[in-house]
């Protein structure tokens, strides 16, 4: 990396990747958007205090006789930066701020759980014999044959029914946990296959043989020889799983499953807004655009991280 005539500087692969990431303009912009969105989600209660409107406050006095917001673009004004919801008259800006929280909590939890399970399963099946690999392969076949949306649609309500009566208020934490569980059931297979493939090729390489003949135990080989070589693909699969789970969670709540009222949520907001396509288009466009920008930024940042970690994998 160092230019001719200069003194060679020691740079770890991690630092090299960081330098490449810093030099990539798209990465810096999308990374900035990503960090800003996470920041807004974390600071939601502070924003609420400063903004002076809560996510459940209703402003029906500011709606007209048909329950539609008064004013341009769905009632955008100095008090309500992104307008009001038709019908209930809640503030869209503060609901989106809190919706970001819901969405990111679930997506991050789901990505962490699926990646962790996938890495463990992938490592084990990559190192153990053919028999276990075959058995796990069959389980993966089965998991992939189940239609995700329909099964998720059935599991979440049955789980809820199992623990709560029809009139009980289901706490949001339970809804979050059951959604993450559903994503975990379906999501571990992808990372598991990825890690397994990598382990199979890495364990045949000379440096692993060298460690083995030097007397390294299986723990050392796994933790010190193989795992460090897996950080890049694991990080990439994690960063691309995040936007996928954001979209999946919004999709489920669009279908009326998962996070229920009054907890703010993107998918449900868009689902509700489609009923006002003709009368209040701004109500459809605002949450949809924000969801799009968020997923796009995460996706592009994930691509940039991939390029930085392994330029050869590149954006071919």
């Amino acid at each position: 990396m160092s230019a001719r005539g200069q003194k060679a500087i020691r740079r770890s692969p991690g630092r090299l990747a960081w330098r490449r990431l810093r030099a990539d303009r798209t990465a810096m912009i999308t990374g900035g958007v990503t960090v800003a969105l996470i920041g807004v989600a974390l600071a939601a209660p502070l924003i609420e205090m400063r903004y002076g409107v809560g996510p459940s406050d209703q402003f029906q006095a500011e709606l007209d006789d048909f329950g539609m917001p008064v004013g341009p673009l769905g009632g955008i004004s100095g008090d309500h930066w992104l307008g009001l919801e038709p019908g209930l008259g809640r503030d869209i800006f503060i609901r989106l701020t809190f919706g970001l929280r819901t969405s990111l909590t679930i997506a991050i939890a789901a990505a962490v759980v699926t990646t962790a399970v996938g890495v463990v399963v992938g490592l084990l099946t990559g190192l153990l014999g053919r028999w276990t690999a075959g058995a796990v392969g069959a389980v993966i076949d089965f998991a992939l044959a189940m239609p995700f949306l329909i099964v998720a649609l059935t599991i979440v309500p049955t789980l809820t029914q199992r623990f709560y009566g029809p009139r009980d208020a289901v706490p949001p934490s339970f809804q979050v946990v059951s959604l993450v569980l559903v994503f975990a059931i379906f999501g571990w297979a992808g990372p598991a296959r990825l890690v397994r493939g990598q382990v199979l090729s890495i364990r045949e390489q000379e440096f692993v043989d060298a460690a083995r003949v030097s007397g390294a135990g299986p723990g050392h080989i796994l933790g010190r020889e193989i795992l460090p070589n897996l950080t890049a693909p694991i990080l990439v699969s994690f960063s691309l799983a995040l936007p996928a789970y954001i979209a999946a969670e919004a999709g489920l709540s669009f279908l009326g499953i998962g996070i229920v009222e009054p907890t703010p949520d993107f998918g449900r907001m868009i689902d509700r807004s489609l009923g006002y396509l003709q009368t209040d288009p701004a109500y459809v466009l605002i949450p949809g655009t924000l969801l799009f920008v968020m997923v796009l930024a995460f996706n592009m940042f994930g691509d940039a991280v991939r390029d930085a970690l392994d330029p050869r994998m590149g954006s071919r």
């Binding site: 239609p147 649609l153 029914q161 868009i270 489609l274 799009f292």
Partner: protein
């Protein structure tokens, strides 16, 4: 090939058997009583018992499962309260719709087919075309536009695209009617105009993914030795690109296409909900909301069957298209 097909099919049947067992178990081993969920509103103990008996649910769970499976393959007697004899493929009786589940499915399946097949043709044509055009000169303006479309399509949720299409074409411009389903045999023009928005929404999102995939495949193939050979022997660039490279690059696309169609045939849930079309996906969602267990089970089973079948078809096609796989 025959040997391969046999072992592959055997594995597919096994997977389906496990799926059917798991689905059955999911619904009938749950703590709440499935029969009371299935029973009509004015349900008394006597009627409950009769339903339970008719569906073989009064014995061990395995008998109920066997009865259900027998119904699918040879038909079964459901009892007079459930419309009498239920011919194969019998998927049970829905107390919510008051009809055999197979009749509900018979109405929903053509809708989903009419959505998925034309959409798949569109998305393959546009995706592959865009991908090939952008890989022709990587880095060109066309390529950058194609990459942009690919990224946007990968990040847009379908219901949002669908909402925008509805807003623009139906409500603002008024050139497309509100989505609806008319059978193709009845009025082809009406069939197409009622579904065109659903096709466009699905095709846009999938075409974006296919453009990404075919672009990267083409770029990879173009750096292979046989392409250099083809060039060296004096073939025109267009011939090398459109014939030699395309053939090699298209195989992974076939895999993805097969799997996507298989998954979509089980119900394009979000598309159908967005556009209010009553296909398999919408039927499943409605069944979930009304607690209609027999219909939910049927939709899960059928969707899984499509996915597994698509896997077999893809593997077989792969061997036909790619001689390297055959030799292994």
């Amino acid at each position: 090939m025959t040997g391969f097909l046999l072992t592959r099919s055997a594995r597919a049947v096994l997977t389906l058997l496990v799926v059917s067992l798991a689905t059955y178990a999911m619904f009938f081993l749950l703590p709440q009583d499935p029969v009371s969920a299935m029973c009509p509103k004015n349900c008394n103990a006597e009627r409950l018992d009769r339903v339970r008996h008719d569906l073989d649910l009064d014995g061990p769970t395995i008998d109920g499962y066997l009865g259900y499976m027998t119904g699918i393959f040879v038909g079964r007697e459901l009892g007079s309260a459930q419309g009498g004899y239920c011919a194969a493929p019998c998927l049970g009786y829905s107390y919510v719709n008051n009809e055999p589940v197979s009749r509900t499915i018979g109405r929903a399946l053509p809708v989903t087919l009419s959505i998925v097949i034309p959409a798949a043709i569109l998305w393959l044509a546009f995706g592959l075309g865009l991908g090939m055009a952008s890989a022709w000169r990587p880095g060109s303006a066309l390529d950058r536009i194609a990459v942009g479309i690919g990224l946007a399509g990968a990040s847009l949720p379908l219901y949002f695209v669908g909402g925008l299409l509805l807003l623009i074409f139906t409500y603002r411009l008024g050139i497309v009617p509100v989505p609806h389903y008319t059978p193709l045999t009845q009025n082809p023009l009406d069939w197409a105009s009622g579904l065109v928005l659903a096709w466009l929404a699905l095709a846009f999102l999938f075409a974006a993914l296919y453009a990404r995939l075919s672009r990267s495949q083409m770029l990879e193939t173009m750096s292979e030795d046989f392409i250099r050979t083809a060039r060296a022997k004096g073939l025109r660039p267009r011939q090398v690109y459109g014939r030699h490279a395309l053939r090699a690059a298209i195989t992974p696309l076939i895999t993805v296409l097969g799997l996507d169609i298989g998954a979509a045939l089980g119900g394009t849930v979000i598309t159908e909900v967005t556009f209010g079309l009553r296909g398999m996906g919408r039927t499943a969602v409605d069944a979930v909301h009304t607690g209609d267990l027999p219909t939910i089970m049927a939709t899960v089973l059928i969707a899984a069957t499509f996915i597994v079948l698509a896997n077999v078809v893809v593997d077989a096609t792969y061997r036909l298209v790619d001689p390297r796989v055959r030799r292994q």
